[in-house]
């Protein structure tokens, strides 16, 4: 008994002495949620262990600056020996009985021999448009290792009844699956998003920044109200994709000269409705067996495209506001549309357009926008002043006002701490 108490005390003390400087460093970096300092630590063993684990994650992040450098190569031959060696050199989480629950599903993928299995085993490693170091930063810093925003679906069914879990550990095969899936989705849908290659890359960076906040790139992230998966899909957004984007994306992929892009059609989007809208089938939003994380990523890309199209039609095409956009360069117009599309992922297209139009006829009446950042800052205020009806609660006013600035700020922090200062390869 005394031995047990001593060992517990040792763990707590070591946690306090170990965490404080790292927590301070982490807060300085501002990469993680605010951590408790030594003074405020709740003296529970679980909490202390959690702090130690998070500190180790931050330390591994620092290490990853070195170990990931080989991933950032523009070399297409990702199955090369040196790449596999460097992949093995990356420090991954050590899993335990609480956070290793996705491993079994990953093992199941390994036996199927399909596209996801290949992605997991690095047998298909597409050219990364987004630096893998940034994906790893998302996976290990947006949610703490003890965060309970995750679910495990043992069978197809509702997320409501699925077991709540802590954040899954990021081991090599899980990281490979996530990173390679995003790389493949980006590669296959880049031209679908934007005909201008440079702008398409910026669109993919925008989608990265959005997923970073929505799920931290975890396939099984679930919100309190049931939005699920990589892009945190709600029933409405799924319906929108199924109705407006599914066939278009299928058709686009079927014309691809890349066999892996065609395999997305054959293996991931092969059923009539790959992701169901109903809450009773909401496990489809996160289940690996259903084709996630790749399925949810494809939905996120398509929803991005659809929302942008609606915003263009509902705001930019209206000749009454033409003067407002008359002095924007092509680059700035793209930047503005992209920012609004990210915002609409949370606020909805109408949720962005209503305050925007109110701003255009108010402060910007007959006045061209010359500074996109200033306009977006003004729009943030308008989000809480003149929100669309469904965003009028105090909580939604705050959430929608802060959504885009938070995404922008997080991306900036990640990029500042990434080799080369950008997540774009």
């Amino acid at each position: 008994m005394i031995k047990k108490l001593c060992s517990h005390l040792f763990i707590i003390l070591s946690a306090i002495s170990f965490v404080s400087p790292v927590a301070f460093a982490a807060e300085m970096l501002n990469l993680v949620e605010p951590m408790q300092t030594g003074k405020q630590i709740n003296p529970s063993i679980e909490n202390s262990l959690n702090m130690v684990q998070r500190s180790q994650e931050i330390l591994s992040l620092v290490d990853s600056n070195v170990t990931f450098s080989s991933f950032t190569t523009k070399d297409n031959s990702f199955n090369c020996e040196s790449c596999n060696r460097s992949s093995q050199a990356v420090k991954f989480d050590s899993c335990n009985s609480k956070n290793n629950y996705l491993i079994n599903n990953l093992d199941y993928l390994g036996t199927k021999g399909g596209l996801l299995s290949k992605l997991k085993n690095n047998l298909v490693a597409p050219n990364n448009i987004i630096n893998p170091e940034c994906i790893r930063t998302s996976m290990t810093t947006i949610f703490g290792s003890q965060s309970k925003n995750f679910k495990q679906c043992t069978s197809e069914g509702s997320l409501k009844t699925a077991a709540t879990k802590v954040r899954p550990c990021v081991n090599e095969s899980y990281f490979n699956l996530i990173n390679n899936s995003f790389a493949l989705a980006s590669q296959c849908l880049k031209d679908y998003l934007n005909s201008d290659s440079e702008q398409a890359s910026e669109d993919i960076l925008a989608i990265y920044s959005l997923i970073n906040i929505e799920s931290g790139f975890h396939a099984n992230a679930v919100s309190a109200t049931g939005a699920g998966g990589i892009g945190q899909f709600t029933s409405g957004a799924i319906e929108d994709f199924n109705h407006n984007q599914l066939q278009k994306i299928k058709s686009f992929l079927s014309n691809s000269s890349n066999n892996n892009c065609q395999a997305i059609n054959q293996e991931i989007l092969n059923s009539k409705i790959p992701m169901n809208t109903s809450v009773s089938n909401s496990c489809e939003r996160i289940s690996l067996k259903k084709g996630n994380p790749l399925l949810n990523m494809i939905y996120t890309f398509g929803y991005f495209k659809q929302t942008r199209k609606i915003l263009f039609k509902g705001v930019f095409e209206n000749k009454r506001y033409a003067k407002n956009f008359s002095r924007l360069s092509n680059n700035d117009q793209e930047k503005l549309e992209r920012a609004l599309t990210i915002w609409a992922h949370n606020a909805g297209a109408a949720g962005v357009a209503a305050p925007m139009k109110s701003l255009l006829v108010g402060k910007y009446f007959n006045t061209p926008i010359t500074d996109v950042d200033q306009f977006l800052s003004d729009l943030s205020k308008r989000m809480s002043q003149t929100p669309a009806q469904a965003n009028r609660s105090i909580a939604r006013r705050k959430e929608t006002k802060e959504y885009y600035p938070k995404i922008k700020e997080n991306l900036q922090r990640i990029q500042e701490n990434t080799r080369g200062g950008t997540c774009l390869n």
């Binding site: 029933s235 409405g236 609606i310 909805g348 305050p355 669309a388």
Partner: protein, 142 residues
């Protein structure tokens, strides 16, 4: 009795929160819907819509430029939301075959909120009004 009055007031206030904050636009919308239902030619229907959109825009400018009282801010939000839904629907391209499709555009461009229950999912009032306008536009379209 007092409980009954309180309950009635609660019901009234909750239903009002989904309605227009602007009586003038509410009446203009009802007037438009009535006219659209009895008009047959697409060209005439389109004229009615364009006139309504002009009125709506001018009113939006006036309301937004006026003092930023909570009432005016709510009116500005409502009018700009309605203006958006009507812009999303390209009325000039509506025919009797694609009417349902046009209504879907409104449904899908509304606010993306994740609700606790499926039964909580309600179409925002301005989207409902816009849907009524599209339905009236489609009625008897030649």
């Amino acid at each position: 009795m007092s409980k009954l009055i309180l309950l009635t007031m609660l019901i009234l206030s909750s239903s009002l929160s989904f309605a227009f904050n602007d009586i003038e636009t509410e009446q203009a919308t009802q007037n438009l819907i009535s006219k659209l239902k009895i008009t047959r030619l697409a060209k005439d229907k389109l004229n009615l819509i364009e006139n309504f959109k002009d009125q709506l825009y001018n009113h939006l400018v006036d309301v937004t430029k006026a003092d930023e009282t909570p009432e005016n801010l709510d009116k500005s939000a409502d009018l700009s939301e309605l203006d958006f839904y009507l812009d999303v629907v390209d009325f000039s391209s509506i025919n009797s075959k694609n009417c349902l499709q046009k209504q879907h555009v409104i449904k899908h461009s509304s606010v993306n909120v994740d609700y606790e229950n499926e039964s909580d999912v309600k179409l925002p009032y301005m989207a409902q009004v816009s849907l009524e306008i599209v339905q009236a536009y489609c009625q008897g379209l030649k």
